[in-house]
Symmetry: C2
Subunit: 232 residues, 2 copies
C-alpha cells in the first residue's frame, strides 16, 4: 500500500514581453524555499479535477480571461520533489498574448526565461518542459495565435517566433509557410506608421484561434478533413 | 486543506493484431467493477515516479521489452472516477509492434477497440485518449515505427495505418509522404512470396526508431537541425 499523497497543480504561464519569453512567478514568503520564485498553483481541491483547479488557482494571480491557451504538460512525481509529505504535481502550460498586460499581485512578477531567478522546488524543470512544449507546438500546430495579438505585422509576428523559439527565423519564410498552411490571412488593413515613417506594413491575423495540427501529412487524415484542410 | 489522495498509473497498451487495433486489459476478479475489464497499472509506490511505476506494473502483465514506446497521455482526476477514497490516475500510451505476441497472464487479453467489452471505471475514456494521441502522432511524427515490424512491405504498412487511423489510406501516397520525409528506406531485400505467388514486394524499414516530429515546418527549426532534416 502506498503512503497517502497529495496533489497539486502548477502552471508555467508564458508571455512574450519586450521581446523576450517570460514566465509568471510569485515569491515565496515562507519556508520551505522562502524567497524563491514559484509557479502559480496549489493543492487540488476535493471537488475539482486538475483542469478546473488550475484555472481556479491561476485566477488568484492573473486575470484568466487573458490566458489564451492552457494545456496539461506532464506529471512531476519524483518522490523527493518537495520536502515533507509526498506531493505530486500536474503541470500546465499557459499562454498570454503579447499585447495584454494583466494585473498581477504584489508578490508576483514576470521573469525572462533567460534570466530566471532562483526557483522553488522543481519549478525550473516545469518551466523548461513548458518551453519545450511551446517550441514543439509552434512547429506543427497553429499555436502562434495564443502568443500574438489579434492583428499584427509579419515583422512583429517574426519577433514573437524568434523570442519563443530562441533562434533566428526569416520573416519571408515564416509568412510563406504560415500562408501555405492557411494559418494566416491579411486583414486588408495596414499598421499605423511608426515613428520612423516608412512604407506602411500590412496587417495579418490567424485564420483560427482554436488549436489544431497544421502539418502537411494530409494523406493520413480522414478524407473529410483532407477537403477541409484542417484537423480540429 | 485537500483530503488525502492516492495516485495510480494506468497504461493503454495498443497493438495491431489481425488487422485491428487492440488494447491489453485484465478482467477484475473483485469489486468494485468485478468482471469488468481494466487497464494494467496500479498504485504509485513510495519510491518511484510515474514513469518507473508504469514500467514496473506493466511488467506484471506483459514482457515490457515488447513495448516499443511508452508516453504519458494525461491525468484523469475526476473526483468521482472510482468509488471510495480519492484516486488520481496518470495515464500512459504503450505500443507493441504488430509482429510480436507477448505472453500475458490468464486474466489478461487483447480486445479490439471497435468491440471493447465493459470496462472498469473511466478506463474506456483512457483508451479513447490513447487512440486519439496515437492518431495525432502518426500524422506529425515517425511513431509508425512503434507499431510496425522492423521490416515490412508497403502494403503491410498501409494495413497498420488503416487499422490505427480508422480510415482508408492510399499505399502510394503513404509511401510517397513517408519517403519524402525520410522516414522510410528500402532494405534492398524483397518479401518471400506469399501463397498466391505474384511479384515479390520490396521490403522497407523506418530510418529511425526514436520518436521525432517529422513535419515540414523546417523554417522554424534551429538552423543545425534544418540541415540534419530531423528534430530529435
Amino acid at each position: 500500500m502506498a503512503r497517502p499523497t497529495e496533489h497539486e497543480v502548477l502552471a508555467a504561464v508564458l508571455q512574450i514581453r519586450e521581446g523576450s519569453l517570460q514566465v509568471l512567478a510569485w515569491q515565496r514568503a515562507r519556508p520551505p524555499d522562502e524567497g524563491r520564485w514559484a509557479l502559480p498553483g496549489g493543492r487540488l481541491g476535493d471537488d475539482e479535477d486538475v483542469e478546473r483547479s488550475v484555472r481556479r488557482q491561476l485566477a488568484e494571480k492573473v486575470d484568466v480571461r487573458e490566458v489564451t491557451h492552457v494545456e496539461q504538460i506532464s506529471v512531476f512525481s519524483n518522490p523527493d520533489r518537495v520536502p515533507g509529505s509526498r506531493l505530486i504535481a500536474t503541470a500546465f502550460l499557459g499562454l498570454v498574448p503579447s499585447d495584454s498586460d494583466p494585473e498581477v499581485p504584489a508578490d508576483t512578477a514576470w521573469h525572462a526565461l533567460s534570466a530566471l531567478p532562483r526557483t522553488a522546488f522543481d519549478h525550473a524543470a516545469i518551466v523548461e518542459a513548458a518551453h519545450d512544449r511551446l517550441r514543439a507546438k509552434l512547429s506543427y500546430t497553429n499555436l502562434g495565435f495564443a502568443l500574438a495579438p489579434r492583428e499584427f505585422t509579419i515583422s512583429a509576428l517574426r519577433g514573437l517566433y524568434v523570442a519563443a523559439l530562441g533562434h533566428p527565423v526569416s520573416a519571408t519564410n515564416l509568412q510563406r509557410v504560415l500562408t501555405r498552411r492557411r494559418l494566416l490571412e491579411p486583414t486588408g488593413e495596414v499598421a499605423p506608421p511608426g515613428p520612423a515613417g516608412g512604407r506602411p506594413a500590412a496587417l495579418f491575423r490567424f485564420t483560427d484561434r482554436v488549436l489544431h495540427v497544421t502539418d502537411a501529412f494530409a494523406v493520413l487524415r480522414p478524407p473529410s478533413e483532407q477537403l477541409r484542410g484542417a484537423v480540429p
